[in-house]
Homo-oligomer: 194 residues x 4
């Protein structure tokens, strides 16, 4: 098997294990088993557990949000573009529920690990800039009110979406998450329209 492919498989296994057991229960042996290899083989690719975690974080940083651009017909309308965040969040909750737990694990780790703090800063920074741009655009075209703090709106939207994920983690059923998202979308409209 090709080394790069195997590396990817190991990282995927690390992702799954992290989602299920958290950093608390993350074990080299379990990751190796999940990847279908001997644990010494894993350490052939990543010399230490720490290196594996680093590699994992760098991989996440590289892939982050590469696949979550909104469709073009949505991007045209600023309000729709913002609302699409809720749609996207709900979809991710269903398609990649593991990613939620992993993200929250990383947030906790960020306090102790500068590498993770940097990753999160880039992830949230990029997301925030994107949303802030949309809000500014809306203000520019007159679609949104002029007296809004675009950055704060972006932060508020991100907080709402992240909070949704957190509630889901804590056991809130999906129907309630959906209802919450609907309120979120409506809120955006009320807040932004002139």
């Amino acid at each position: 098997m090709e080394p790069e492919l195997r590396r990817q498989e190991i990282l995927a296994a690390a992702f799954r294990q992290l989602a299920v057991r958290g950093f608390e229960g993350l074990r080299v042996r379990s990751i190796a088993q999940d990847a279908g290899i001997h644990h010494a083989t894993l350490l052939h690719y990543f010399p230490t557990k720490e290196a594996l975690i680093e590699g994992f974080i760098e991989e996440l940083a590289a892939r982050f949000r590469s696949g979550s651009a909104p469709p073009s017909e949505v991007r045209a309308d600023p309000l729709e573009a913002l609302r699409w965040e809720f749609t996207d969040a709900r979809r991710r909750l269903r398609r990649e529920p593991e990613a939620i737990a992993v993200t929250v694990e990383l947030m906790l780790r960020a306090r102790r690990d500068p590498l993770v703090a940097g990753l999160l800063a880039r992830m949230f920074g990029g997301w925030r800039r994107q949303l802030e741009g949309i809000v500014r655009r809306g203000i520019g075209t007159g679609a949104f009110r002029a007296d809004l703090d675009a950055g704060a709106v972006a932060d508020a939207l991100i907080a709402e979406v992240q909070g949704m994920s957190l509630l889901w983690l804590a056991g809130t059923p999906l129907e309630r998450i959906d209802a919450l998202a609907a309120i979120g979308g409506r809120t955006l409209e009320e807040l932004l329209r002139p």
Copy 2:
């Protein structure tokens, strides 16, 4: 020293250690040291680490929200009562930042530990019911729109507040958290008023 007092001290130490190191780095010896006792003595009060964690969670459940009732002048006005959540969240961020990390740790653990899941269900359930009641009351008095799903509004508010904490954990500076909270308060107004 009185046994009950010592138990409380141990639990307080566990809380501090959990905030700083997370479940990942939680050690019986560190907790004992933090509490100023020998680790074997700790296991005298809590026979196993697991029992200590259980005791800790039960303690949290007992104390939950006992101290965060809004002042009476605020409770009178439903909108103010809801807005007060943001004020309260900002205050907790400053006064008990450790509690944030602990709460998020518990949310992650909830997926693996039914006891924690139950605790969180009670915690968030109580909170939600309280907020839902306020919204219903506002609708009843005509202060709020009639076409709102009170439960969903409560969930949305909780999500926003929790999302705030999460952003703070991920490194967002307090000024931006404050600006975000301001937007949140305004949003509530726009959403709820008839």
Copy 3:
């Protein structure tokens, strides 16, 4: 059992194991087994293998040559005092053959470990000073020639004695070692008498 006693037992076991297996084959488990304890117990006394080795070296340094003073009737005559080194060496070869191997192990390790280098410097420095003093005394009383480099004589005697030990290590039988020592004693006489 008293902790200090146990520490001593562990160090004694380390000594024996080092003599038999060398640093090459030195294992924490074997030392613990030799001391009759669980290997985790050993690490209760010495937190790491490295710390154990350090403790061992410091112990050696503390004990070095404390018990090998020559009898008083020998000390009176400088020539006898020097000759006594051969007697002592032969006795040590028979009584504590393990110490030879350990000493040579330490000499090899000295090149990589400054702690050991320091220990050996002190050990050989003290020994050399003692012998040098004897030679000077002999010169002063007229028992020895006046044109001798006392330090070099001390070094030569040490080298001969150490070389004896090395030959024994390499398999030379004891009778030949004894014959060698006899030559050494005679050599001293020829070299030193005026």
Copy 4:
């Protein structure tokens, strides 16, 4: 590259590594790297680490003392021939200091490895016979005293020379080694002349 040449390169690398790290730190991978080849390739030439060490020892045995014959004008005079051992030892200390450490490593290993014990027996046996022959010759020609045990003199000389190396290993500076050798030469004269 020719197989025999490569074998030699590997053995040379093993020699260097053994001198620097000792048996304690000897690693197949390091030797291969030192020889500029992949470690799996090394195991192609020597199927196991043990086989490599064996090959190394046999090589040493084959080469032993092949290059250290004294010059002819020295060999003529028995006293000079013996004294030449000190000259040779001092030269080796400067030209091939690595060989000292390797030799001492082998002496320690001899206790556990009959192959090494055999090698050393041959090495020292040959050396001793050579020196013993010189002494006998000196006695025969009347250059030396008649009452000497030729074998013991040879052993004493070997011990002195080996002891010199050991002192050097333990950190004695070269000037003191030279002074010691001078004493050694003088001693020989005093001991042997009629």
